[in-house]
């Protein structure tokens, strides 16, 4: 079985926001939410939040990634009344706008706050793992844009993929929520 996911290597991520810009350019050009700083309001499919860690003068600025986890046990799919939110066979959580009524229950149900309301659609919007590119044999825009190769996308079930090899040493984001997220991070040193 193919099971797509991401590994984010925070040891090499420089927090430049190229992934956010590429995502916005590829998927939501009408939103213009390029926000590499936490001060900028959220509102896109992916964001970088920079947090400070440690005590002065030993302070590190760590860029953290905020996006959809494509959970295997996704709370959004459980609350969607019409089944508009669904999971593909290869594990991508998507929205079928032919069925979505825009009740926003999924937005309130996602413990990762990975969904937002896209005014142009009148309904929720989220990371699609660039499914339109993946189906053409391309890779997600965020991974393609990353200058340091810190975003690794691939099949987590393929033992030979870079993603699955790195995921073995990485931790799932918010694993304590029990939704079986498929975005992993390698914490900074």
């Amino acid at each position: 079985m193919v099971r797509y996911g991401f590994v984010i290597d925070l040891r090499s991520c420089i927090g430049c926001g190229a992934c956010v810009a590429a995502c916005s350019e590829e998927n939501t050009p009408q939103l213009k939410t390029i926000s590499p700083d936490a001060e900028v309001p959220l509102g896109g499919r992916r964001d970088i939040i920079i947090v400070e860690k440690g005590l002065f003068p030993a302070i590190a600025r760590i860029p953290l990634h905020h996006t959809c986890m494509h959970c295997e046990d996704a709370p959004c799919t459980h609350v969607c009344p019409t089944g508009a939110t669904f999971k593909t066979e290869d594990g991508i959580v998507l929205i079928d706008y032919a069925l979505c009524i825009g009740c926003k229950y999924c937005v309130e149900a996602c413990p990762y706050n990975a969904r937002y309301v896209n005014e142009a659609l009148g309904g929720p919007d989220k990371c699609t793992m660039c499914v339109h590119r993946v189906r053409k044999g391309l890779r997600p825009a965020c991974e393609t844009a990353c200058p340091t190769g810190s975003i690794i996308w691939g099949d987590l079930d393929d033992p030979n993929s870079e993603a699955s090899r790195k995921a073995a040493r990485a931790i799932p984001i918010g694993a304590q929520l029990g939704t079986k997220p498929k975005v992993f991070v390698i914490p900074p040193a």
Binding site: A38, L42, I49, V51, K53, L64, H65, H66, P75, H78, V79, C80, P81, T82, G83, A84, F86, Y97, A98, L99, C100, I101, G102, C103, K104, Y105, V107, E108, A109, C110, P111, Y112, N113, A114, V117, L121, G122, G123, P124, I173, G174, Q176, L177, V185, P187
Partner: protein, 316 residues
Amino acid sequence: MEQMLMVRQEFWGWLIAGYLFLGGTAGLVVPISYYYYRRDGNKVLGAAGGLLAFIAMVAGLALLLLDLGRPQNVLALFTSPRLNLTSWMTIGTYIISAYTIVAGVYAAGFLSWLRIPVFRMMGFLRRLIGPTGILASVLGVSTALYTGFLLAAARGVEFWNQPLMPVLFLASALSCGLCAYCAIVAPILFKVKSREFLEAAVKIRLELQRLDTYTLGFELILLFAMIDIALGGTPAQRESASLLVAGDLAPIFWVGVILVGIIIPMMIMFGYTLRRHEESAKIVLVSAVAGWLVLIGSLLLRYAILSAGIIPAPLL
């Protein structure tokens, strides 16, 4: 290292608060009216309850539709090939649709007694008052309860994930249903009805208001229990509770919900209306004011709970 991004939910606001309020109020109006019809044969209260519930439900459904971002797909709630029958949104849709229709038929049964030609043709509906009254009572209580379950099942907002949430919503709905009589029905009937009505009216008003003081007291305890549990809960629950008791929602919470919605009406009822065993224009007016304060407080309660919702998104 645990890192979280606390995000305040902003997508469910006044429209949903209004809908939850109308659904809760309407939900308990029919059970109360049916009780009086069965016990006293009170057709006036039966008709008023059915009509009020029907109007409130239609208004609530209108608010719900207005809130939908993609109303063009609303029929998917009934026709979707992937319909999710375990979502409270779906279950609620069926409950409120059924309740609106059954409450309408229940009201129509009473209206057929009016000396108006259109309504007189509906005489055959009188036989349905019994079954629709029971069915509407069950659906009405379900409507009020489901509004609590809807929030309790939204996993992202930890403050709403409290088992007491449906209990609070049911208690608030009961106090609204009891108050709807004094706030809306009694003033109208006082204007048009005879001495015979007034004698029954005193008894009913005293019964409703007495029960309402208990309900409001219970609601107050529930509310503080929930706030207290949240203040000792997860970081997001603590922040939500802090928004209510000391944050930007504090004016709405302390003044609107607690003072205007619970304390002042209780003082009016204990101090004045419950001591008056007759009915006059002044007493009807004061009772109506107390009723409206409870209704306003209940609307504000729902808005405050929605607006205090915080999603703690883990980032690492």
